[in-house]
């Protein structure tokens, strides 16, 4: 049922693959975007991947609105109001997303990745299990509004198969050839997904999602810190605290004991090596918060007034104790806040159990962790030990984190873009879209229609 689509400008002849490819890993927190080309053979360079905050923020103090890359120009992150175009991992608010994309790619003077859509192909990633209407919206916006010359939409985990393998024993794959068996754990901003891939194609019935991501951890951190000092509206600052100070504990019970003050009749000495004093930024003298080991001799009230600090500056200091490891613990046991889902290790096993038994060992031995939240110290070690305790003694469990967890999906996309044959087989050009319509394009992306 081919519907002729009327595009605003006439597309050029089909079969012509654009020279340059723009790869956008469209995440809820940041966009990872960069250009790659299949004309030369240099391996994809991580420096050409730019991380652009995917947000529109309004500052009451500056009375300015920061769109996308302008966010890093903001001088005062206090009490910023945020508007995110991506909800739960999917692009829902296209008005805002269009503003961010235009500011990043089409801005006359100051684009982060300057490109001309009419002559560029686009590889766009989305989260797994998208509602069909959102996929249709994305396809229509890309072709009809921006007018890219070619387009391929895929779920983000599949691109990891085209990135170099982090396992020392697996040979680095030639560009354009996917790795054979991979279990991708993508710990993102909105949620965490587990995807088994076979030669770069996902087993759709085994994709599982845990609704805890970086955003949940930041919000939980806000709740816990607000017990002493109200930070509910300081999203950026708490996010920085989380990145600076949180870690995943290898022995949760023991660590919790170490930082307990004890009861009224049973006081205990707190192990000060786990405590941290965090100096909050005030955007006048202190531009970025930082952490230092706890110093019990220091009087917090004096420091607030500037007595006893270096140069007499006023520091607002928070002492952070068990929040450091209680917050990331949510990933491993969501039942702590009442969420009725299995933790990360349980979810991995649920996904593997959905696969044929012959694949069990293959996938347990090839677990790749990507995503910004996986940069928490101790994450991989904890996941590996939990998985090991849940499987048989003679099954091998190998978990590795990509070298650049945030950019790995982009790296895979760039590796895919290097191979002209692969691109030709995947990309839907504008003319084909105009001839066959969006339903056909959706089926091609899902692998159901032959071209």
């Amino acid at each position: 049922m081919a519907r002729q689509k009327s595009l605003p400008s006439a597309p050029e002849a089909s079969g012509h693959l654009a020279d340059k490819t723009l790869i956008i890993d469209n995440g809820a927190h940041t966009l990872k975007a960069g250009l790659a080309t299949h004309l030369d053979d240099t391996p994809p360079n991580l420096d050409s991947c730019h991380i652009i905050p995917n947000v529109i923020a309004r500052s009451q103090r500056d009375k300015r609105t920061y769109i996308g890359p302008e966010y890093s120009d903001c001088l005062d992150f206090g009490e910023l109001a945020y508007r995110r175009p991506v909800e739960k991992g999917f692009i829902v608010h296209w008005e805002a997303e269009k503003a961010v994309w235009e500011r990043s790619f089409l801005h006359k003077d100051d684009a982060v990745v300057k490109c001309d859509p009419e002559e560029t192909s686009l590889i766009l990633t989305e989260a797994p299990n998208a509602p069909v209407a959102l996929q249709r919206n994305a396809d229509e916006m890309v072709f009809e509004e921006f007018g890219f010359a070619g387009y391929y939409r895929t779920i983000a985990p599949t691109l990891n198969a085209y990135a170099p393998s982090p396992f020392p024993s697996t040979a680095t794959s030639v560009s354009g050839v996917p790795l054979e068996c991979l279990l991708i754990i993508d710990v993102g901003h909105s949620h965490t997904t587990v995807t088994p891939l076979h030669h770069g194609r996902p087993f759709q019935h085994a994709i599982k999602r845990l609704e805890i991501g970086g955003k949940t951890l930041t919000n939980q951190m806000k709740l816990l810190i607000s017990r002493t000092f109200d930070v509910h509206r300081e999203d950026h600052i708490v996010s920085e605290i989380k990145e600076d100070v949180c870690f995943v504990s290898q022995d949760f019970n023991a660590d919790l004991e170490r930082v307990w003050r004890g009861g009224r009749y049973d006081p205990r000495a707190v192990d000060a090596s786990l405590l941290v004093d965090y100096v909050l930024p005030d955007y006048e003298t202190i531009k970025r918060g930082y952490a230092r080991p706890h110093d019990p001799a220091v009087k917090l009230r004096d420091i607030m007034l500037g007595i006893g600090t270096e140069g007499g500056r006023r520091e607002h200091v928070l002492t952070i104790a068990n929040e450091r490891f209680v917050v990331p613990e949510l990933l491993f046991s969501p039942a702590d806040i009442g969420m009725r889902q299995a933790g990360l290790a349980g979810m991995v096993l649920q996904s593997i159990d959905a696969l044929p038994a012959g694949f069990r060992q293959a996938y347990l031995a090839n677990i790749l962790v990507v995503g910004g939240t996986s940069k928490l110290p101790g994450f991989v070690q904890r996941l590996e030990s939990e998985l090991r305790s849940l499987v048989d003694v003679d099954e091998v469990v190998r978990v590795a984190r990509a070298e650049e967890p945030a950019k790995n999906v982009w790296l895979g996309g760039a590796g895919m873009a290097k191979s002209a044959d692969l691109m030709r087989s995947l990309i839907v050009t504008r003319q084909e879209y105009a001839e066959h319509g969006d339903g056909w394009a959706r089926r091609v992306f899902a692998g159901k229609a032959r071209r």
Binding site: H205, F359, A362
Partner: protein, 286 residues
């Protein structure tokens, strides 16, 4: 409307926390009888709700269910807040951009894009739309044939049905249609007859019972399965035999050892409990 305790065991319904859960039409408040608290001959006039609950013959099933439903709604509200983006009360207008590109600043270039850019739908709307579409046509967009129809709702009253597994323990929230596939789907060594152990084989020391890799046809079949819907792909709850959920102290974050009798939150020690009673006690659960 509610007369006496419930007679049939209600099925276990798990309300998934989506982005918003509205009181949809079809929702009705049901009065829960006060049990023996309302009977003047039994009620000796204490205002301490805990004592009244305990001494007057305990709570009825309906009361317990009402309390736990309320607690569950509270927990779900908190989870929704945790996963929110602070975008609800925020209205940021996009400034008019200059020198960016041809074409309408706000409006799109074609009718489809105009609709997309002007729509104020959020994710919960799209989810609801998709579920309505599936309920209406029985299949998602683009699939060649409909998935096998779900089990027809049985008309046998619950009391007469043969016992079946509690649905919350069975693992994945995906409907049972997903589990039935072609008999090729191997589940452990049982499905692969050539691997089934014979007595002679077990005694043979070289017997190797690792399952072999599935055949290419099976792999192709699995790879071509359609994607699950958003709610089907949620990870299932942990098995009910696992450890109970851990509770923490509300004030300091250590293990929760004592439960507040008024609001049910836990604290770890007398000092933390005093702080809780002064500032934080919600006194909300009966």
């Amino acid at each position: 409307m509610a007369t006496g305790a419930l007679r049939f065991r209600t099925p276990h319904i798990d309300e998934l926390p989506t982005t918003q859960s509205r009181q949809a039409p079809g929702f009705a408040w049901v009065a829960v009888a006060g049990g023996a608290q309302e009977d003047p001959s039994k009620n000796w006039g204490t205002t301490n709700r805990k004592r009244a609950r305990v001494s007057l013959g305990g709570q009825t099933d309906q009361q317990r269910e009402a309390v736990s439903a309320k607690q569950q709604r509270e927990i779900e509200r908190k989870l929704r807040d945790l996963n929110s983006d602070n975008a609800k009360d925020v209205v940021i207008d996009l400034p008019k951009k200059h020198g960016v590109g041809v074409g309408g600043v706000k409006a799109g270039k074609t009718t489809n894009t105009k609709k997309i850019l002007a729509s104020g739908k959020n994710f919960a709307h799209y989810l609801d739309d998709e579920e309505a579409e599936i309920a209406r046509t029985g299949r998602r967009d683009g699939e060649a044939e409909a998935p096998p129809p779900p089990q027809r709702a049985s008309k046998t009253p619950l009391a007469r049905r043969k016992t079946r597994e509690d649905s919350s323990i069975s693992g994945s929230p995906a409907p049972s249609t997903m589990q039935t596939g072609p008999p090729l789907l191997p589940r452990g060594a049982q499905a692969l007859p050539h691997l089934r152990a014979n007595e002679n084989d077990i005694e043979n020391e070289d017997y190797d019972d690792t399952p072999t890799l599935p055949s290419d046809a099976e792999i192709e079949y699995l790879l071509s399965l359609p994607p699950l819907t958003y709610t089907q792909a949620r990870a299932a709850p942990p098995p009910a035999t696992g450890p109970a959920p851990r509770r923490f102290c509300e004030t300091c974050g250590y293990w929760g050892r004592v439960k507040c009798s008024k609001c049910g939150t836990m604290t770890c020690s007398v000092a933390c409990k005093d702080v809780h009673d002064l500032d934080k006690c919600m006194k909300m659960y009966t």
